[in-house]
């Protein structure tokens, strides 16, 4: 029971990170209907920017952790957002009216480019960061097994929930959110009604990248090491989460992220750590076969 509880906490933490990345996939897919393959690498770029700014702040003598964390979050979100914007501008916008496979290939090309750019610019080795936030609560003890809820985990889950609420409000309440939903429904019509479609799409990428940056910061803090390759696997899993939750749905992305995180953690804990990714992907296949539009997605009616 205690072991189960501990794994539940770990799974929700990991799921939060996947969920935040998944939102970027789901928003972009919702609005322009493409898999932004480079999104996982945007997350990785966010983690690197966070790493560098953390070390810079610490070495500049800023040791008050909450302030440092806040500054790092702001830096990482804004600069990663810039990367998200640039990727869309260079690789996707010229192909907006083109056929479906072309942006997919440029997305894969961008993913390769970003990975290798970071590898050449920062080196291929894993980059460690000293533990910044340590300690936590012991919420339960039984037969010598202690269930821990670390401050780090609380922070991750709180930030995720907070951002989730904030973004849901943006989508449902603001003019930007309305424009996004309009573009999702019918881009031509949205354009005719005076919505700046290019700007809306750009902002979608910016928002997705900023969330990925937050996920990058949390990944960095939680695991303490990053390398240029973390984006690929996390990206696939986050996309899996987005599809699982029902692509285009924000709560779905979060839910999917949680499920993938939990499956991964529980599978590792109870079965075999080697096959945790196989378990997550099998889940994806099963869901898609039996619920093709995901858990919270709108069912796609086949028009004849």
């Amino acid at each position: 029971m205690e072991y189960f509880l501990q794994q539940l906490i770990n799974g929700l933490t990991l799921g939060s990170i996947y969920g935040l990345i998944a939102i970027g996939y789901t928003m972009v897919y919702g609005i322009i209907g493409m898999i932004n393959f480079a999104h996982g690498d945007i997350f990785m770029v966010g983690a690197f920017i966070a790493l560098i700014s953390f070390i810079a702040l610490l070495s500049a003598g800023l040791t008050f952790v909450p302030l440092a964390l806040l500054i790092v979050l702001i830096i990482s979100m804004s600069f990663t957002a810039m990367w998200g914007w640039t990727v869309e501008r260079i690789a996707y916008r010229p192909l907006r009216a083109s056929f479906r496979l072309a942006p997919l290939i440029t997305a894969i090309g961008m993913s390769i480019t970003l990975q290798n750019f970071v590898q050449t610019a920062q080196g291929a080795r894993v980059k460690p960061l000293q533990p910044i936030i340590s300690g936590g609560f012991e919420i339960m003890e039984h037969d010598g097994f202690i269930v821990n809820l670390s401050y780090m985990q609380i922070l991750i889950i709180l930030i995720t929930v907070g951002l989730m609420i904030a973004f849901s409000l943006i989508i449902s309440r603001t003019p930007l959110g309305r424009a996004q939903r309009a573009c999702e429904q019918d881009r031509t019509m949205a354009e005719l009604s005076g919505i700046n479609v290019d700007r809306t799409i750009s902002l979608t990428f910016v928002m997705g990248a900023a969330l990925a940056a937050v996920a990058g910061v949390m990944y960095l803090l939680y695991y303490g090491v990053i390398d240029f390759y973390i984006g690929f696997i996390a990206g696939i899993k986050a996309f899996t989460a987005a599809v699982l939750g029902g692509i285009g749905s924000l709560p779905g992305a979060m839910l999917g992220g949680m499920i993938i995180g939990l499956i991964e953690v529980f599978w590792s804990a109870y079965f075999s750590i080697d096959y945790k990714d196989v378990a997550a992907f099998s889940m994806l296949v099963l869901v898609l076969i039996f619920m093709p539009s995901g858990l919270l997605g709108r069912p796609e009616v086949e028009k004849v």
Partner: protein, 437 residues
């Protein structure tokens, strides 16, 4: 260069402003990732500032953007200039397809006897041919049937491991193991294809990607069968009618023909094997395209619902496309295993799938000669930058983006009809659908 009314001097302020904005964006992008380097050695301050490198990059962006503004984009036309400039070249390639193919085959057939054909040239050629073969195999699935498969490497891996296991455990020769490995890969194509073929579009893409990763993870972890990350070594080399192409082989090729031993003999032999395999792939896929099954694949790509209304069993049609694509992937995998003599899961990552897909899409979906051109450009080009070890994957990714933006429909865009009444007229790519699943 300058269009009337848009003299350099009048365009200069705007160009400068645009270049300055680009430079500013570049500064923002690069300030952390290039401007500061994390030092690998553990130290007190594991960061090193690189202001000069940052300045070089930002300066390069500024100059490049300024030059583009002034000399390339003449005010109005922002894109398509390059495409127009190169249109004669690609147009020539399209028109010359009739004699280009035989010329290329002839060139390939005599390549090992060319004076410049040293071991390196042959090695690269073998690699290019392997990718051409994989491209042709995947073309059936993606180009003809319009099914987006991001996990093609799975079948390449199944072929390679099947061959390696059959050859090392049962001692069967290359020529027996090869078809077995191909059949096993086709079987896997059907097994993996069966559950997922109801899925549409990007869902199919992501599930095939997941299958590709799953197979790799299983190869890494199923130690008792695959030897895990250590891979399988000492995979037997192919023999020439029972003659071994090794120094101490018994009976050996060079002794039988009274030649002195040279490793080049084996490389040349491998070259001809892959050439034959690739040509077989080409022959079969071209033939299939003109048969009812091939037409059904293409019809499926155009409109699945119409296919069903015409009595076509779309599930079986998709499965055959998957199985045939997988089979050729399996053949290529067997060849890869016998050429390397050693395989490990490292060789079957997603990047391989991406490269093969890029070859198909860059070549122009469904075009056989396009795959050849794309494979030569991508794989050959990749080899040219061998010296720049660090940068070549970076260049590779950037080239993928650039070529796709330049020609979103690929290099060879026109579709050739499978049957004609009076005259064979190519179908413009703008009319051809890219498929929904």
């Amino acid at each position: 260069m300058a269009v009337p009314g848009t003299e350099l001097s009048t365009r200069l302020p705007g160009a400068l402003k645009d270049a300055a904005i680009a430079a500013f964006i570049a500064l923002a992008l690069f300030v952390f990732l290039i401007g500061i380097r994390t030092v690998d050695a553990a130290g007190v301050f594991p960061l090193r500032a690189r202001p000069w490198l940052l300045a070089v990059f930002v300066g390069a962006i500024f100059t490049g953007r300024l030059a583009l503004n002034l000399f390339w984009w003449n005010g109005s036309e922002t894109s398509g200039t390059l495409a127009k400039a190169l249109a004669p070249v690609t147009g020539l390639a399209e028109r010359s397809a009739r004699w280009l193919a035989p010329a290329l085959i002839a060139f390939a057939a005599f390549l090992p006897f060319m004076p410049f054909a040293d071991r390196y040239v042959l090695d690269v050629s073998i690699m290019v041919l392997t990718y051409i073969m994989l491209g042709w195999g995947l073309n059936v699935v993606v180009g003809l049937a319009g099914l987006l498969d991001l996990g093609y490497v799975a079948f390449y891996a199944v072929g390679a491991y099947s061959y390696a296991l059959i050859a090392t455990h049962f001692g069967l020769s290359f020529w027996v193991s090869l078809p077995l490995a191909g059949l096993l890969a086709a079987l896997w194509g059907i097994i993996l294809g069966f559950p997922v073929l109801r899925l549409r579009g990007d869902y199919l893409a992501i599930v095939t990607l997941a299958f590709g990763e799953m197979i790799r993870i299983i190869l890494i972890n199923w130690y008792s069968l695959t030897n895990g990350p250590d891979g399988i070594s000492r995979i037997p080399r192919p023999s020439f009618f029972g003659l071994q192409l090794t120094r101490n082989g018994e009976p050996s090729f060079h002794e039988y023909f009274g030649l002195t031993y040279s490793p080049l003999q084996r490389i040349t032999y491998l070259f001809y094997i892959i050439l034959a395999l690739a040509l077989l792939t080409n022959f079969v896929t071209k033939r299939l395209r003109n048969l009812p099954i091939g037409r059904a694949w293409e019809a499926l790509r155009e409109d699945e619902i119409a296919c069903r209304s015409l009595g076509i069993n779309t599930r079986n049609t998709k499965l055959t496309a998957f199985a045939i694509g997988a089979m050729f992937g399996g053949f290529a995998g067997s060849f890869f295993a016998t050429r390397q003599g050693f395989i490990s899961p490292e060789s079957f990552t997603f990047i391989e799938s991406a490269i093969i897909l890029a070859i198909v899409v860059l070549g122009g979906m469904g075009s056989q000669i396009g795959v050849v051109v794309a494979a030569v450009v991508m794989i050959g080009g990749f080899e040219l930058f061998r010296e720049l070890e660090q940068f070549r994957m970076l260049m590779f990714g950037a080239a993928m983006v650039a070529i796709m933006i330049w020609r979103p429909r690929g290099l060879i865009t026109a579709r050739e009809p499978s049957v004609y009444l009076k005259e064979k007229k190519p179908v413009s790519a703008d009319l051809v659908q890219e498929g929904h699943g």
